[in-house]
Amino acid sequence: MHDRCRRPEAGSLVITRLRRRMAEILLTLPSFFWLALFFLVPTGLVFILAFRPADPFGGIGRGWTLATIRALSDPQYLAIAWRTLWVSFTATAICMLLAIPTGYAVARAAPRRRNLLLMLVIVPFWTSFLIRVFAWKSILHPEGIIKKALVFSGLVDANASLLYHLGAVILVTVYTFLPFAILPIYAAAEKFDYRLIEAARDLGARPFAAFRKVFLPGVRQGLVTAVLVVFIPALGSYVIPDIVGGTGSELLGNKIAQRVFVDRNLPLAGGLSIVLILAVLAPLLAVLALQRKAGQAVPRDGEGTP
């Protein structure tokens, strides 16, 4: 007869649990350490630097001061912040107007066509961002093709400039971020059950009403992602205003870079960065709050009163 002892060897359970914990820590440590060191710490540094005075020779002074923070209320900064918000907002809106039909169309396409379309959308996504911005700079150039075509067709005056104003910035921003907006909408549209639209039509809704009341809510998650993925990077634009924007179209990113490289005023750059961080956090937190509210329990059959 075998031994009727009940428990497995005394310490083996504890050892297994410890071994598991060790394995977890070992796997987590490399990336955790790296990101803490090269991401968290520098970000913290930015916050700290904003409260330090600027050394007249371009370094960082000693002690603490709120002068930098107060300097942020200067009207030029407010103007730039407002301009940044406005440009980002407009670019996002235009992107959404273009991305929603496109994402829908690609999702509804026949499978072979769909793969081709997807590839066509993805390729610009992988292309060097700098090159794409430059492409616009050269074609919007006064001697460029588009200007010539527009003047030829009489739409634009020969003296007008297509470059170096906010319009160009918005246009190129839309161009740059449109693929980012299309992909999440496509992903959500692909998972959408189109029989719901048939049901809506069956119940009397006209095509656009069905689209508005059934499709859009159904791909809500994709829409939110698309908005975030355009709006937030747009807030941090640097290259686009720099290359096609000109002096009157500086955005927050350009100002920050100017303070760093031209004025060598690191604390002020830090202060402006904090403004940018806050501008970025606001929509993110708003989305998180909305998601939390929407994620309430759904009643199931059999539980509760019929």
Binding site: M1, H2, C5, R6, P8, E9, S12, L13, T16, P306
Partner: protein, 383 residues
């Protein structure tokens, strides 16, 4: 006699849930043994404990006398057929089947020989060089079986292997598994929630619920003589009646007093004493139904009733009747041409009757188990 595969007081909990609660089970060599129960009853956990993927919190597992509780899965002479088959997608059928022997570093010639033998057994010689994603569900299952059997394990563990197949295929694979078991003679431990599979394939069944074993026995024992209300209701259909043992007109028969009904005679195999409250279970096919009052016979129970529902199924008809305030199910087989008779219809007054030998008293009864009986609703929105 020590069993071949022995579970000795196994307990396992996952967080707040006690998946297996002090379960002991002995499986004989060469047996086709089923663990049957609803999802979450602990049967899969038991299987994984046997395979070595879970270590029990308490208790031991013995295989052929040897304690394997702490042995890792790759060192046990036990192989598993997973529910999803878990075939290696980057290997061909041949590669999958050969895997175990390759790991064991057997000579190449032997591996080739064995693999060919297996391919013949499962009749997939012409698919041998394909990758799993090109095979159908039934073919994949056969590869999974071959991959496990080639190692000649002491026990083959099957985790709901037919769950992913459609009905027709399932029926065919059921028979094939039976054939394989007969041919190979290995001990099978089969886990399922489908009573049809368990009953048609196994030598013995253990019915599990909420981490405990409700009953172990042959399929017929489980069906005809369930010990608890769960076993009675989970397997097949039944009727439950609550009553008190009034007296015993004969040594092996008790008379029950049930509210609303005349006294009922039932065979007392569990030596339940007079005065005890008991639950009576009678299976629907054991009850007969007729418009005319039956002749009184010894140990026959006859009760007047009113028909509430009639469900015509072709070979049988299911009647739901109300007798003395109780709703009862009766299953009638149409052994003769049906259209000749005057059918029993809704709202008819009838008599239902059964023999005292055909009902049984239950040792354990839980109100919850009544929910396992699928009673048709009487109003829209009825629970």
């Amino acid at each position: 006699m020590a069993e071949f595969l022995d579970f000795d007081r196994i307990s396992k909990r996952f967080g707040p849930i006690q998946a297996v609660d002090d379960v002991s089970l002995g499986i004989r060599r060469g047996e086709f043994f089923a663990l049957l129960g609803p999802s979450g009853c602990g049967k899969t956990t038991m299987l994984r404990v046997a395979a070595g993927f879970e270590t029990p919190d308490a208790g031991r597992v013995f295989l052929d006398g040897r304690d394997i509780t702490a042995l890792p899965p790759n060192r046990r002479r036990v192989n598993t057929i997973f529910q999803s088959y878990a075939l290696f997608p980057h290997l061909t059928v041949r590669g999958n089947i050969a895997f175990g022997l390759q790991i064991a570093k057997r000579p190449k010639a032997e591996i080739e020989r064995e693999v060919e033998a297996m391919l013949r057994l499962i009749r997939l010689e012409d698919q041998a060089d394909k990758k799993p994603d090109l095979l159908s569900g039934g073919q994949r299952q056969r590869v999974a079986v071959a991959r496990a059997l080639i190692n000649k394990p002491d026990v083959l563990l099957l985790d709901e292997p037919l769950a992913a197949l459609d009905l027709k295929l399932r029926q065919r694979m059921l028979i094939e598994l039976d054939i394989i078991h007969d041919q190979v003679g290995i001990t099978f431990l089969y886990v399922t929630h489908d009573q049809g599979e368990a009953m048609s394939l196994s030598d013995r069944i253990a019915v599990m619920n909420a981490g405990r074993i409700e009953q172990i026995g042959t399929p017929a024992e489980i069906y005809e003589a369930p010990r608890t209300s769960f076993v009675a209701a989970f397997i097949g259909d039944t009727n439950f009646l609550e009553g008190v043992v009034a007296d015993h007109p004969e040594p092996e028969y008790s008379r029950l007093r049930i509210e609303g009904l005349p006294d009922v005679t039932v065979y007392n195999d569990k030596q339940i004493a007079d005065g005890n409250q008991v639950f009576l279970s009678v299976r629907p096919e054991k009850i007969q139904i007729s418009r005319d009052r039956p002749e009184p016979k010894s140990k026959r129970n006859a009760v007047p009733a009113v028909v509430e529902d009639v469900i015509y199924l072709g070979p049988t008809t299911k009647y739901w009747v109300r007798a003395g305030g109780h709703r009862l199910q009766v299953l009638r087989q149409h052994a003769r041409f049906f259209l000749d008779e005057k059918p029993i219809r809704w709202k008819d007054d009838v008599w239902i009757f059964w023999h005292g030998d055909d009902g049984f008293m239950l040792e354990g009864f839980r109100r919850d188990d009544e929910r396992l009986i699928a009673v048709p609703p009487q109003k829209v929105g009825d629970a």
